[in-house]
C-alpha cells in the first residue's frame, strides 16, 4: 500500500496517543497488532523493531520489575511473610508499561517507511518552514545516532578496564553523570558536522526553495487522515469517561 508521508505521520501520532491512554495489556496488545499489520502493509522489516529496542531491554526489564513490585493489587502470587511480592495486578501493570514502549516504538517505525526527502517535502507543503521541517527530521535521525553513540561509549569504557556490572551504584551514577555531557556534546558535534556539510552543499542559500516533485493527496490519504483521528478521539473519550 502506498500512502502520503503525511497520512503516515497522522497514523503514527494516533497510535502513539492511544498507547499513552491505554493501560491494560489487552488493549495495548490489540494496538500492537494493528501497528504491526500496518507496518507489514508498508513492507517494513519487523526485525528492525527488535534491534532498535535491544539496547533498552534492561531498562524495560527494570521498569517491569519496579511496576510489579510497587503497584500490588489483585491476587497475591508470591509473598515474603505478609509482604506481597508478585501480584496479578502488579504483573499486568508491568506488562502494560513494557507493551506501551513497544507500541510507541513500532508506531515510530511508520515514519521509517518513507524517505527523509518525502518527509520534509510533506511538512513544507503544509506551510511548515523548511528549516523547522529539517530540524524535526534531524531530531528523528538523531535518535538512532545517539543510541549508537551510547553503545560505542559503553563498549569503549569497558575496554578501558571498567567492569560496569561490578561498579557499585553510587559510583556508577557519578561516572554516568560525568560522561553524559561529553557524550551528548560529542553526538551534537557530529550532527552539526552533518549540518555544515549540508550548508556547504547549498542548503538555505536561496530564500525560496524549489521542489521538483509535489506530493499529492489521493483519496485513500484523505480517508486515513479522517478515519484515524476520529477513531482515536472516540476511543480516548470512551477510555477517559
Amino acid at each position: 500500500m502506498k500512502l502520503d508521508p503525511r497520512a503516515k505521520m497522522v497514523m503514527a501520532l494516533c497510535l502513539s496517543g492511544l498507547a499513552l491512554v491505554y493501560n491494560s495489556p489487552l488493549h495495548l496488545l490489540l494496538l500492537l497488532a494493528v501497528t504491526v499489520a500496518l507496518l507489514l502493509s508498508f513492507r517494513f522489516e519487523l526485525s528492525a523493531i527488535g534491534s532498535y529496542l535491544k539496547p533498552f531491554l534492561s531498562l524495560m526489564l527494570f521498569l517491569f520489575l519496579i511496576q510489579c513490585l510497587f503497584s500490588p493489587s489483585g491476587r497475591v502470587l508470591l509473598a515474603v511473610g505478609t509482604l506481597p511480592l508478585v501480584t496479578t495486578g502488579g504483573l499486568l501493570t508491568g506488562a502494560g508499561v513494557v507493551l506501551r514502549i513497544v507500541v510507541v516504538t513500532a508506531a515510530a517505525m511508520l515514519l521509517a517507511t518513507f524517505s527523509s526527502r518525502d518527509f520534509i517535502l510533506g511538512l513544507v507543503q503544509w506551510k511548515v518552514p523548511y528549516e523547522l521541517a529539517f530540524m524535526v527530521f534531524i531530531a528523528l535521525r538523531f535518535l538512532p545516532v545517539f543510541r549508537d553513540e551510547l553503545v560505542n561509549v559503553v563498549t569503549a569504557v569497558q575496554l578501558r578496564g571498567v567492569d560496569l556490572k561490578k561498579v557499585p551504584w553510587g559510583q556508577k551514577i557519578a561516572m554516568y553523570s560525568r560522561l553524559l555531557f561529553p557524550v551528548i556534546y560529542g553526538a551534537m558535534l557530529k550532527a552539526q558536522r552533518l549540518a555544515v556539510s549540508m550548508e556547504s552543499r547549498g542548503f538555505r542559500v536561496y530564500p525560496r526553495r524549489t521542489y521538483l516533485r509535489r506530493l499529492n493527496f489521493r483519496f485513500v490519504d484523505y480517508m486515513v487522515m479522517l478515519v484515524f483521528p476520529v477513531i482515536t478521539i472516540m476511543l480516548i473519550v470512551l477510555q477517559v469517561s
Binding site: 578496564g161 560496569l164 561529553p182
Partner: protein, 230 residues
C-alpha cells in the same frame, strides 16, 4: 601456550551471507610486533574486533591465555589487551584530554598522585600537554589519534592492538610512535599493528601477516627488526 590463539575462526556479519573471515588460524605471543596488512575491506578491523570480544566468531574459537574469550567480560579483556580503534571518535568519551588519559588508571584503583604522574608522562610524550583541558572532540584527527593511543597506553596493558594508528600522523609523529612501540616491545609486551603504511610496517614489524579476501595468505617473520635496535 600462546597469549592469544585464533583457532579455525570464521566470521559472517549478521544478515549477510558472504563470510568476511574464513578459517583463520593464528597465534600471538606476548612479545614482538606483528603487522597485519592487506587491501581495504579484507577484514583486518573485523579480525581485531573478534580478538577483543566486541564481535563473536561464527565458527571456531579465540582463546586468551588459554581460556575461551567468551568467558571474559569486556573489562577483563580490556585490562589485558589495549585496543586502539581505527576511528578515534569512537573511543574518546571524557570531558578533557587529561581526564581521558587518566580514566583507565583512575578506575583501575591507582592513587590520585600516581594517576596524575602517569597523565603527565603520557601527555608529555605524545605532545598533548598544551591541550590538557581541551574537549577531546575539538582536537584535529591526528591529535585525537595520539590521544586515543595515549589513553590506551596509560593503562599499561600486557598486549596492544592498534588499528591503523598512523593515519593522520605526520612523519615526525610517526617516528615518535615508532620509537614508543619499539620501547614497549622491548619491555616484553606484545603488539598487533594493523596498517596500510608499508614503510611504517617495514620499520617496526618482526612478523607480517597478509590478509586477502578474509584469508591469511602469508605469515612471515622478518629477522633483525625492532627488538634488536636497543
Amino acid at each position: 601456550m600462546a597469549f592469544l590463539e585464533i583457532d579455525q575462526v570464521s566470521f559472517t556479519y549478521p544478515k549477510h551471507d558472504k563470510p568476511v573471515l574464513t578459517e583463520i588460524d593464528l597465534q600471538f605471543d606476548r612479545a614482538g610486533i606483528t603487522a597485519v596488512v592487506g587491501p581495504n575491506g579484507c577484514g583486518k578491523t573485523t579480525l581485531t574486533k573478534l580478538m577483543i570480544g566486541v564481535l563473536q566468531a561464527t565458527e571456531g574459537e579465540i582463546r586468551l591465555t588459554g581460556r575461551p574469550i567468551a568467558d571474559f567480560s569486556l573489562a577483563e579483556i580490556g585490562r589485558r589487551v589495549g585496543y586502539v580503534f581505527q576511528n578515534p571518535d569512537l573511543q574518546l568519551f571524557c570531558g578533557t584530554v587529561a581526564e581521558e588519559v587518566g580514566f583507565g588508571p583512575a578506575n583501575l584503583g591507582y592513587e590520585p598522585a600516581a594517576v596524575a604522574e602517569r597523565v603527565g608522562f603520557y601527555l608529555d610524550y605524545f605532545e598533548l600537554t598544551a591541550y590538557r583541558n581541551t574537549f577531546p572532540m575539538h582536537l584535529s584527527h591526528g591529535e585525537k589519534q595520539r590521544l586515543a593511543i595515549a589513553a590506551v597506553l596509560a593503562n599499561e596493558p600486557d598486549f596492544l592492538i592498534l588499528d591503523e594508528p598512523t593515519t593522520g600522523l605526520d612523519a615526525y609523529r610517526k617516528r615518535l610512535l615508532e620509537d614508543y612501540l619499539k620501547k614497549i616491545a622491548r619491555s616484553g609486551r606484545g603488539m598487533i599493528l594493523v596498517s596500510h603504511d608499508t614503510a611504517f610496517v617495514d620499520r617496526v614489524a618482526e612478523r607480517v601477516i597478509v590478509l586477502e579476501n578474509g584469508r591469511v595468505i602469508e605469515d612471515s617473520r622478518r629477522k633483525g627488526k625492532a627488538a634488536d635496535e636497543a
